[in-house]
């Protein structure tokens, strides 16, 4: 990976981190504002999806681009399934929906980047995988 590509991905990760930090801080504030917060009950299979990001990372590192893309696509599919069951007028579910959708957009970009650039896009994909773990823990453990 060239320095330009690595630095570019690091900066993209910084911007994305700020994007999700803004959502997280808004969620923390909104949750504390009133008594209408209901944390969504996520299906147990969500825990299994936490493995998909690291699995794709592992495959990329070994040069298995197509299986890595398949793992990434599986992650996006599971997120779409989660989104379909959420009710946006329930504030906890709305926040989770926003975070899932934002993450899914990143995951789609990550899968596309793996397809186009292979292992050179690995840094961003590692971030996408770690971010999903953070989001699920944010809702299942903290919220």
């Amino acid at each position: 990976m060239t320095n330009v590509a690595r630095t570019g991905q690091a900066l993209l990760i910084a911007a994305s981190s700020m994007f999700f930090a803004a959502f997280t801080s808004a969620m923390v504030v909104r949750r504390g504002l009133s008594g209408d917060w209901i944390t969504p009950l996520l299906p147990t299979w969500v825990w299994a999806t936490l493995l998909l990001g690291p699995l794709a990372s592992w495959l990329i590192q070994r040069g298995h681009v197509r299986p890595a893309m398949a793992a990434g696509a599986a992650l996006v599919s599971s997120q779409l399934a989660l989104l379909a069951g959420l009710r946006l007028f329930v504030i906890g579910e709305a926040f989770f929906g926003v975070l899932i959708a934002a993450h899914a957009a990143h995951a789609v970009a990550g899968v596309a980047a793996i397809g186009r650039f292979g292992a050179r896009a690995s840094l961003f994909w590692h971030f996408v995988g770690a971010l999903w773990i953070y989001l699920v823990f944010l809702f299942e453990v903290w919220a």
Binding site: N3, V4, T7, G8, L11, L12, A14, A15, S16, M18, F19, A21, A22, F23, A26, V29, R30, L33, S34, G35, D36, L88, F89, I91, A94, V98, A102
Partner: protein, 528 residues
């Protein structure tokens, strides 16, 4: 010249062209607003033709006034002050000044520009859709901006387009910021360390760092606001609202939450507008003083300090939102702390001039004008940074005068200075010096004639965003002042015609410039 070019010089010129169109459009809107403020009952046929619903029979409605104000602020802040100094000059000259052949990601660079152009078109479309442009100002505070068209004309599709436009602008700015930072970090000439870069490059670099973190937050806020409007969520909508006699069923949200997200972006945005100008002015003062910049390292560190402090002062825009007095004190102290690096820069500029062999070119005139405006606007910032004073001045014309001087006009003076300075490099010809100086003197007098009196309007508590002052007894005393300001605004606008003529005439007929006409030492004058 290819329209979809990936050449950084072409893209730089495209950004400058977009900003030039935007500043003219925004200026016309401001003139219409000033006209309405002093002639609120006058019917203008043209208004009736342009806005049949907003000005029936030529009589401008308060809603139309607010929509023009929203568009003026949004266009000027995003498409002029954010684009020209950073993306315009930066794209053209950053690679040249650091010895790179182009920006790090040329295709991304091209996409950034065209996403910005799409964003501008989306915003302008708000003027022609049903209901017209939104009323909620460039800050788009909910609940006005969050409830949809029930809150007034322009709050339907117009507000949706506004949010979409800003979201696109955020994406474009993030792409541009990544490009700028990578270019500085990875593509500097091997013999150029960070503290060997011209201060212009430092200005663009720090601005890109600020943009990277600020626009991501605005994008998040915009997405939540869009969902509040269209998906029935309640991130920012509080309970108990009755709008136009209709009870709103949503509850639990807080408009103050949006204000925090907005101003976490909004205050750094001030520095996004002004820091590139600071770098440029440092260079111009140095070149036309025949001396090195005084305290180069301190100047670079001051840029970093201003950029860093910019992220911890957003609360001073919200002193009246009900925040804890302890928070107010913290935000106030941090705000006043911005004065320290700002003073470092100002005194170093003066020290750069001291004892120099000054050449009063048009570029130098505008650079000195920038310093004057920066000091004037900065001092009123110290007043507004104190909660006790800000509570009185909040939402008055004092604030309008302050931010126009420090953020608007100062940055525009930097753009004029940059155009005079770099025009020979961009077009191979000089801008006409005599016309440039005439333009400077008329503009310099004009901006002070417009904005100094507005401070006094603020002293008497004249609220901003009011379309008709005659409705209020206590504002009758300031009407003569507003009449004077409006005439000064016409004068100021007329003076810009000199620049427009000079800009286009000189591209074809200006005196041919040699390779390094100012005797500068930076790389752009020796690289082809």
């Amino acid at each position: 010249m290819r329209i979809f070019s990936t050449d950084h010089k072409v893209i730089g010129k495209q950004y400058i062209g977009l900003a030039l169109f935007s500043v003219l459009f925004g200026m016309v809107l401001s003139l219409i607003m000033r006209f309405h403020l002093v002639h609120p009952d006058t019917k203008v046929k043209l208004f009736g033709l342009l806005w049949p619903d907003g000005a029936p029979g030529g009589q401008m409605t308060p809603e139309l006034y607010l929509s023009l104000m929203t568009m003026h602020g949004t266009i000027m802040v995003f498409f002029v002050l954010t684009t020209a100094p950073q993306s315009g000059f930066g794209n053209y000259f950053l690679p040249l000044q650091i010895g790179a052949h182009d920006m790090a990601f040329p295709v991304l660079n091209m996409l950034s520009f065209w996403t910005t152009a799409l964003s501008l078109l989306t915003l302008l479309a708000a003027l022609i859709v049903e209901g017209g442009a939104p009323l909620s100002g460039w800050t788009a505070y909910p609940p006005l901006s969050g409830l949809g068209k029930i809150t007034g004309p322009g709050q339907g599709l117009g507000q949706d387009l506004w949010i979409l436009s800003i979201a696109l602008f955020c994406v474009a700015s993030l792409m541009a910021a990544i490009n700028f930072i990578v270019t500085v970090i990875e593509l500097r000439a091997p013999d150029m360390g960070y503290f060997d870069m011209p201060l212009t490059c430092w200005g663009w670099f720090v601005t890109a760092l600020i943009s990277l973190f600020a626009f991501a937050v605005l994008l998040a806020g915009g997405i939540l606001l869009m969902l509040d409007r269209n998906a029935g969520t309640s991130f920012f909508i509080p309970g108990g609202l009755i709008v136009n006699d209709q009870i709103q069923t949503r509850s639990g949200g807080s408009p103050v939450l949006f204000q925090h997200l907005f101003w976490f972006f909004g205050h750094p945005e001030v520095y996004i507008a002004i820091l590139p100008g600071m770098g440029l002015i440092s260079t111009i003062l140095s070149v036309f003083s025949g001396k090195k910049v005084f305290g180069y390292k301190a100047m670079a560190i001051a840029l970093l300090a201003i950029g860093g402090l910019g992220f911890v002062v957003w609360g001073h825009h919200m002193f009246i939102s009900g925040m804890s007095p302890y928070s107010s004190i913290a935000f106030s102290v941090l705000t006043l702390a911005v004065g320290v690096p700002s003073a470092v820069k100002t005194f170093n500029w003066l020290a750069t001039l001291w004892g120099g062999r000054l050449r009063f070119t048009a570029a130098m005139h505008f650079a000195l004008g920038f310093v004057s405006l920066f000091i004037t606007g900065g001092i009123t910032g110290l007043i507004l940074g104190q909660p006790g004073l800000d509570i009185y001045f909040h939402d008055t014309y004092f604030v309008v005068a302050h931010f126009h001087l420090i953020m608007g006009v100062a940055a525009i003076f930097a753009i004029f200075a940059g155009l005079h300075y770099w025009f020979p490099k961009m077009y191979g010809r000089f801008l006409h010096e005599g016309l440039g100086k005439l333009h400077f003197y008329l503009t310099f007098v004009g901006v002070y004639a417009v904005f100094v009196p507005l401070h006094f309007a603020g002293f008497v508590g004249n609220p901003r965003r009011f379309p008709d002052f005659k409705e209020y007894e206590f504002l009758k005393s300031v009407m003569p002042l507003h009449i004077g300001v409006t005439h000064a605004a016409y004068f100021l606008a007329a003076a810009q015609l000199i620049f427009l003529f000079n800009y286009f005439w000189s591209q074809r007929r200006g005196a041919v410039a040699p390779t390094n006409p100012w005797g500068a030492t930076t790389r752009e004058w020796r690289d082809d």
